[in-house]
Symmetry: C2
Subunit: 337 residues, 2 copies
DNA sequence: ACTTGGCACTCGGGAACACAGAGTGCTAGA
DNA sequence: TCTAGCACTCTGTGTTCCCGAGTGCCAAGT
């Protein structure tokens, strides 16, 4: 049904359309890519491709434009991910290596990705659930308040002020801290709730109310931050592009953490480091936009996702190359620290 | 030169133009605002106003549009800041009260302001320089690494991993921590450098290399974060508006911390809680946009600035009311915690 | 059975044009 | 000093026309 030449025609249409942003006609196509056949033949193939829903024409007597289905076939079978140039790779490496803390890593990553792809980049903060506890700290602030600080192996720090039910001297706080650390140090965050379940019983009765208060805040912190923070950059790159769904909707989605999270997608596939490409209407909310995303994190320890968002008419091979490369580098950086 | 009626005409022009986004003509103006005079008279006044540069016409035989100078006069002398409704105030209060930590306060504030004004809101994180040290914490991570955590009275937490020049046991770390806290607790951040100047000399010789390393990182943290973080929200509100300078430039400025900082402006005036309004070409970088900003923070303790950015054609009275109100509430919240 | 050249057809987009309407400036009179 | 009237100048819109790119189809060629 779809012989090699038809596929070549489809590929040529996608490439031309992406680079020119104009519907591509049979004549120009036969010339620019040396297909060795006449425009008429190309027309026949185009008719077949249109029949099958891979391309469409905006109106009669206009050239053809790929449909979502056409882009899908292109991405799946007709294109190869384009690796970055050496210069680009070195630039990434040095730029990311300069980061001083986790916040900085994420900020740099998202900017880098936006600049590299000239699209909007989106990066999810590393998820807590897969991290482990490196240290729990209790800092007395006044006689009825302590600050709870939770440090994870990814360098993330969570802090909360806890109002205590009773006045408590520093020594007892110190003791509680020691117990907590003995109990949790190095454990996965997901296991914290069960590890803490019987903790109050192992404490002297007088400490239990205070401990209960602190523990509840600690657990709350874990739960609340489960839905992780997401940041984006490169919104300026949207200025030129035209979206089916309107620029306003895209900008709104970008500021809505929940929507953005859905768009990035869960690590659905078995191989979380595989690139996910969602094209146009394949997207849950924002039809008319495409998303190229992947998980990042070191080896078996997947941390979170990152990717870019752009118009359906996007240079997929290049974008995929950039996303993959950045994900790898940031994984390295995080693993090293 | 500018009698009362001319001023009334200018006010009417600004109000009409802001609400309709169309050049306003003499006839419509004489009708809608009961000026008790004929269109012809209005025309004469308009001619005078145009002569003085307060208004302009896009082309012959079109209505008039305020110039930057016209808006300036309007803001300075012709308008009153419009207070928020009771419902809005209650909404603000409950929304801000729900914040759990400093990040949350800032995030909520910026979103709130964006929604209230239907413009882009910008909020600078509270500056460190004016805060005081609440606690310094040193957490051993491994035998040659400690995490330095700095907690300020505004609830801000800064952390850094420090690589030590030699292996050091926990006891000495604990001692150093005690010394640091004794030295710094409650002190203003600005005074930290001088307070620490002679600290190494007061320590046993063996501890000095380690102390020096830690101190240098601590000082670095203070300096680096002096230029504070800035966040924005409500970019979607830009979608409708048209900017003289192009949407792209505005979006780029929003993502550039430094530019944004300049736009918000330093607390230039003597009264930092006064509203600053910069109109169109009065802005340093982004001509064609207006900015309404103010300092926030409790009483004499100014923390940082917040404001909104929008097209020159903006409802200044309402915007100013919203900015002022939000600044007050967030100041309250921060003072309470 | 494909491929190719030819040909009629369709439709969008630009140029030329007319025209209604809004708004102005000016002048003369109240 | 204000007002009414009037001629003038624009923009924006709707109409028409036409060019050209691009198509679909058909018949002939390989």
């Amino acid at each position: 049904m779809l012989d090699d030449r038809k596929l070549a025609v489809l590929r040529a249409i996608v490439e031309d359309y992406v680079s020119t942003n104009e519907p591509v006609g049979s004549k120009a196509l036969a010339e620019r890519h040396n297909l060795k056949v006449s425009p008429a033949t190309v027309r026949n193939d185009m008719a077949a491709l249109e029949e099958d829903g891979y391309i469409t024409q905006p109106h009669t007597s206009a050239g053809r434009v790929p449909t979502d289905k056409g882009y899908r076939l292109f991405v799946d079978r007709l294109s190869q991910i384009k690796p970055l140039s050496g210069a680009e790779r070195r630039a990434i490496e040095t730029f990311l290596a300069g980061a001083v803390d986790l916040d900085d890593v994420v900020t740099r990553t998202v900017r880098l990705l936006a600049q590299l792809t000239r699209q909007v980049a989106v990066v999810q903060y590393p998820t807590l659930t897969r991290s482990t506890v490196r240290h729990v700290e209790l800092v007395p602030l006044s006689d009825r308040r302590v600050m709870l600080v939770l440090i994870t192996n990814t360098g993330r720090v969570e802090q909360r002020v806890v109002e205590l039910p009773e006045v408590i001297e520093d020594l007892r706080i110190a003791h509680l801290r020691a117990v907590l650390n003995a109990c949790l140090d190095g454990c996965g965050l997901a296991t914290v709730p069960e590890l803490l379940a019987d903790l109050p019983e192992r404490l002297p009765a007088e400490d239990r109310p205070v401990a209960a208060t602190i523990l509840s805040v600690l657990l709350e912190t874990l739960v609340e931050r489960h839905d992780e923070k997401i940041v984006f950059a490169g919104a300026a790159n949207l200025a030129g592009a035209d979206f089916a769904t309107g620029l306003r909707d895209v900008l709104e989605a970008l500021e809505e953490q929940v929507v953005l999270m859905r768009l990035l997608g869960e690590t659905s596939s078995d191989i979380p480091t595989a690139l996910t490409v969602r094209i146009g209407s394949e997207n849950p909310y924002l039809h008319g936009t495409s998303i190229v995303a992947t998980g990042y994190g070191s080896g078996d320890n997947q941390l979170a996702r990152l990717g870019v968002l752009g118009p359906t008419r996007m240079d997929y091979p290049v974008t995929m190359g950039a996303v993959r490369a950045v994900a790898r580098y940031v994984s390295q950086i995080l693993a090293a620290s």
